[in-house]
């Protein structure tokens, strides 16, 4: 019986391979674009906040609050603002992508030991040089950790995009849920879970490989 169900599912996947592949590609697009947008906004903003700490607390607290807003609610807001299709989906996903990167960039940079920066100043480095040569390299592991969380979030929330006509693996899950079709559910759920787990694993390997030797063991 269980074996039979697996066979049916495999046959279904072969039958619908083009659909599944298209949804997978669209899912990667959703995640890729929103994480890229998140990085472009969050990394500079995080650096900026590390220079103006009195803003930082308020901004980070706000970011934390935004993060507690359920995904479905964000989707609703975006829908009211932008209507149906890709733009609202990308908007929501980018917001979810920004928050972890912002937090980790800020923490990463502010946790760089003062003595390094003093030393750098001592040998006559400019602020720009200190940022590029000391702070960013030392904070990189933390920033990459933030990117990893962002990727996991966006892979997850991108499944909701199917609800508002933006496609992706969520389309298959929605079709399955609205028609009580197990094969459709699995055809969307299994790949999205694999993508999330694989990307998360891959990025944490990258993160470990770039962690400065002296900081290994300090997890972020």
């Amino acid at each position: 019986m269980g074996g039979n169900a697996v066979m049916t599912f495999v046959a279904f996947c072969i039958d619908h391979q083009k659909d599944i592949f298209n949804c997978l590609v669209r899912h990667f697009q959703l995640v890729g674009i929103s994480v890229a947008a998140g990085m472009l906004i969050a990394i500079p903003l995080g650096i900026f906040l590390s220079r103006f700490k009195h803003f930082a607390l308020a901004v980070l607290r706000l970011a934390g609050m935004v993060q507690t807003i359920p995904g479905l609610v964000m989707l609703g807001f975006a829908l009211l603002l932008f209507g149906i299709g890709l733009p609202p989906a990308l908007f929501v996903l980018s917001i979810y992508a920004i928050l972890p990167i912002l937090q980790n960039t800020y923490t990463g940079i502010t946790e760089v030991e003062k003595s390094y920066i003093e030393a750098a100043k001592g040998i006559g480095m400019t602020n720009g040089q200190i940022l590029r040569k000391i702070e960013i390299p030392l904070a990189l592991s933390s920033i990459v950790g933030g990117i990893r969380t962002s990727v996991v979030f966006t892979v997850s929330w991108a499944t909701l995009a199917g609800l508002i006509g933006a496609g992706g693996l969520g389309d298959l899950i929605w079709t399955g849920l609205s028609t009580y079709n197990t094969n459709y559910i699995l055809a969307g759920a299994v790949p999205s879970a694999i993508v999330a787990i694989a990307l998360s694993g891959l990025i944490s390997i990258i993160q470990k490989s770039i962690t400065p030797r002296g900081l290994k063991g300090v997890s972020v």
């Binding site: 829908l79 149906i84 508002i164 006509g165 929605w174 079709t175 609205s178 028609t179 009580y180 079709n181």
Partner: protein, 302 residues
């Protein structure tokens, strides 16, 4: 000292646990005198479900639990078969094609007879008296498309379908009387991949110009709001979809009075009335509860 604190901590945890387990018990189960009413995830079906609920509440002492807005046809149907719900509003055409997977039957009475017999035999489910409305599936285009191409029928649409984007709810792509069958009969070749979205968002999408053609229900409220042109199904692809409450035989045996109570609604809601009620809910944003209540009391049913 340390002992005392430890005891305090453990007591605290124990209290929290008891609280949580009580919560679990309350969240979990129901009782024998509970009637669970379900509905699909669009305005009309929710309103009808709410009417059933109010009618039962005012005529019996049963505890009514609402599980409205559950999902698509298959979701409600599976829940009904399993006993997760006892009653929900269904449509004859849907029962015929989507659930029984039979061919389209044009005659409404014949369709009703077939679904009543087969549902009883195959699933132990009874169709009560139809409410009156025929919420048929049909296709609609935006006003711009209508003005540009002058399409009146599905066959007209087929000739220009290459220029037009089609979008619908996920369910439409996965039923016998849905997208594939329609394409086979009329030879539509729409532009690009069809767009899939939540059933209630189709109107916004066509209103924003995100798509040109969509499937609708004839009694949908927002047709008027978005000034859509409803096309004629000139080859008679879609069967009639008369709405009726469907109920588990098991529930009916336990509470036979439900039959008469719900049959009071039989023939009371025609297409125009339903369209009006849908308009109030979906376009004017009135609450489902008050729309159902106003209708029932205006009809003298509660």
């Amino acid at each position: 000292m340390r002992n005392k604190i430890k005891k305090k901590g453990i007591k605290l945890i124990a209290a929290a646990m008891i609280l949580m387990v009580t919560a679990l018990a309350l969240a979990g189960c129901g009782s024998d005198n509970e009637i669970k009413i379900g509905s699909k995830d669009f305005g009309e079906n929710i309103v009808l479900g709410e009417m059933f609920a109010q009618l039962i509440e005012s005529n019996t002492d049963l505890k009514v639990t609402r599980k409205l807005n559950m999902g698509g046809t298959f979701v409600c149907f599976e829940a009904l078969k399993k006993g997760d719900i006892d009653i929900y509003p269904e449509y004859t055409g849907t029962g015929l094609t989507a659930q029984l997977k039979l061919d389209v039957v044009g005659d409404p009475e014949e369709a009703y007879r077939i679904v009543s017999e087969e549902f009883d035999k195959q699933f132990g489910i009874t169709w009560l008296t139809p409410l009156g409305l025929n919420n048929t599936y049909t296709l609609a285009v935006s006003n711009e498309v209508y003005e540009k191409y002058g399409v009146e029928t599905y066959s007209d649409l087929a000739k220009v379908s290459g220029d037009l984007v089609f979008g619908a709810d996920h369910e439409f792509f996965n039923r016998q009387d849905g997208f594939e069958g329609l394409v086979n009969v009329y030879g539509f070749q729409f532009k690009g991949e069809p767009k899939k979205m939540d059933i209630s968002l189709k109107y916004q999408a066509i209103g924003n110009g995100d798509m040109d053609v969509t499937d609708i229900f004839a009694t949908d409220g927002p047709i008027r709001q978005y000034n859509l042109k409803v096309l004629t199904d000139d080859k008679g692809f879609f069967p009639p979809y008369y709405a009726a409450p469907i109920i588990r035989n098991e529930t009916l045996e336990k509470h036979p009075e439900l039959k008469d109570i719900l049959n009071q609604l039989g023939g009371m809601i025609d297409d125009a009335t339903m369209t009006e009620l849908n308009y109030l809910v979906d376009v004017e944003g009135q609450s489902v509860e008050s729309v159902a209540l106003n209708f029932l009391s205006a009809q003298g049913l509660i």
